[in-house]
Symmetry: C2
Subunit: 470 residues, 2 copies
Amino acid sequence: MPDKDPQPPALEPKALPTTAVPVSTDGASQEQRIDPFDVKGAVVDGKVLAIDYEKLIRDFGTRRISPEILERFEKLTGHKPHIFLRRGMFFSHRDLERILDRYEQGKAFFLYTGRGPSSESMHLGHMIPFMFTKYDVPIIFERPGKLIKLWIRWLQDVFDVPLVIMLTDDEKFLFKPNLSIADVLGFSRNNCKDIIAVGFDVKKTFIFSDLEFMGGAFYENVVKVSRCITGNQSKATFGFTDIDNIGKMHFAAIQASTAFATTFPHIFGTDTKTVKEIPSLIPCAIDQDPYFRLTRDVASRLKYQKPALIHAQFFPALGGPGSKMSASIDSSAIFMNDTMNTIKKKINKYAFSGGQATSEEQRQFGGNPDVDVSFQYLTFFLEDDEDLESIRQSYLKGELLTGELKARCIKELQTFIAAFQERKKAVTDEIVKSYMTPKPLEWSQGKGPKKQAESAVAEVTQKIKDAVVG
Amino acid sequence: MPDKDPQPPALEPKALPTTAVPVSTDGASQEQRIDPFDVKGAVVDGKVLAIDYEKLIRDFGTRRISPEILERFEKLTGHKPHIFLRRGMFFSHRDLERILDRYEQGKAFFLYTGRGPSSESMHLGHMIPFMFTKYDVPIIFERPGKLIKLWIRWLQDVFDVPLVIMLTDDEKFLFKPNLSIADVLGFSRNNCKDIIAVGFDVKKTFIFSDLEFMGGAFYENVVKVSRCITGNQSKATFGFTDIDNIGKMHFAAIQASTAFATTFPHIFGTDTKTVKEIPSLIPCAIDQDPYFRLTRDVASRLKYQKPALIHAQFFPALGGPGSKMSASIDSSAIFMNDTMNTIKKKINKYAFSGGQATSEEQRQFGGNPDVDVSFQYLTFFLEDDEDLESIRQSYLKGELLTGELKARCIKELQTFIAAFQERKKAVTDEIVKSYMTPKPLEWSQGKGPKKQAESAVAEVTQKIKDAVVG
């Protein structure tokens, strides 16, 4: 048994580009625009730039996830920060410290994430908040004479808190004039299977369709919230105009209400006085922030706890920075129901390359991993920081050819998606029902003298020992 | 047994004033304004005029309830039109002919009315749509040597259709910043008791609170409707601006959804194809018409049947035309929980009189029944047309003094309200629950070969015989 620490070396959170990179050319100059309905890089002299995340932090008034906060996270929970945190995919937050304070003090909170069910199958980008919220990620790395496998458990298990997942089928219906209620309910059901296949604990998870769950305490919060938001605010926040329908203008109240524990009496009970003190922590893509800025304003007025947020960057489209990943454009993304062969074809054919035009040039000049989509995907799915860094260096130096990099990406994606598809096959309608039926949940955080951090440390230590021995 | 028809003589629907009457003086000139949130007579040269109902018919594009339609109503149903119809309190309609066609053809429809529960007790004005929808009204009239009592049954029984009654507690919450959810839910429950005390058949009636009933098929219709209404339409229809909250702007979708049978699968079933063909008939005050104009537009787009409407004039405030009846101003109205003594005091002290200053002048010049509130109230509560006409003539001629007219009004109101309070005492929480729980209803219209008209005629004939004999 080796005596040295088998954990992978930590990386500092990746520095965000402060100057965006020009990536394509169309249209005149304009500012970048990021809201729930529009994600567009700035255009300068006809060139579309990649999203400037530093600018977003400044414009939205959020805070950078700092090395200090990650250190505190690790110390409190006994868990190494997820690669999405270490590598800066989740890069910004609001009030994450307050959640860590509560964790430390043994006070209750819950996780809230969601999905707008817009098509029959989810794609890789849709997986990010769910993988971050809960996915038993196997870390496999080699040490001299050993293959070490470490399972990292994520937010739901790290914190041991309830998780609510909202399927905003009502929103999709309101924003897409061609969809029927049956369409969006069907999407909800199918997407729910995808989400379950990520691996959530049914005892701690409530997945719901807005259309099905609306009513009771949820609706009471919706009217409470909607009384606090003016037409002006909804328009200014989301860019609506008076030709938009009233359902769109009103939808913010629905997305906001889910951030409040009082919406879920079947989970938290009906003692409003204590339940309204339970905040949510919301992992989401940064484009959802406008909803929750509004929610945080409203929370103060309703004397509810403000939700805390962790913001993700956007998952790269196959076409590379500046191109758009769309559920309706098959070649823009890898879908979770793509066959192994399709994955291979899509990466080979569509994945934007940072490499040179020929092998000779690649050997001579090297490739650019910062814009290479295959490399970017590896940063999301390859757990071992050393392995990833060695690929990066080889690619930079031209030792690794584009075809080889793509092959590695294909292998990792195929492994991930094949395992996912295997799990999804096992998700029956009965299982869907068990997640979507309002029921009491089981968790420990905030329920008594706090021992989670200690037991989590003990648990992860044991796992490491098992892995190293096994 | 007399061989002549014991029914009271028919009156033509009362002619509506084509020129409004100046009644008080305050403010500058302006048009009359009638919408769900504002009921104001025109102001001309500083004088507030009574509501010009003929102008409303023109402005809203509705139709006058004609003698022909009343004749057809009586012929089809075998029931003499209610005094509210004969005397023109329900004066305007949309598509009432279509409902009569359906009645004749044995096709299904339903009644929809509602109440915004804004205070602990309802007043007389609130009773009008409910009395019209269902109230067993005793008509007592004298014939030589006989006192004849005839019970007239109203819309619910005449048509034998389901009735849904919506308590818009969500609306009240959205429009009144000082109310809590508990407040408006309390109002709903208490107002529900008042409504039940009017005398609805529990087997044919579903009373619901929006806050409690929201969800499922109802919510599906809400999002369907809200997708069809733009911010522009909501603002233009109700006079909202961008400083109004998004709940107000969105509320039209909720009030509209109740007009569609698909909102009530527990009543009409889930066979959408047939259920969406079932229209509603909505008895309401004319100020609610803007909601339903919008609803009728939306219905076409959703391929639902347009709701039909019967519009009531406003019930006069104690202070007379130009004054406002308000649930929060005790002296403006007779409340259903006023004591017999309070009723007497209020009529004597606050009821606007059309009489002269002294008995002598009254004898000499006569009174004006058209502006006299006591006389107006008698037109709502005195069933016998001959009796009413004789009071009117005596008052006009000065034979009847103001005090005598008030005494008669007090007597009728006390009788009506005492009987109401007696019935309300019997309404337990258990009974409230039986009306407010979604359950299948029982009715005959539209359910098979149509014999209602014939049996209704037979029934009413029998009642007349019983009354005359008894």
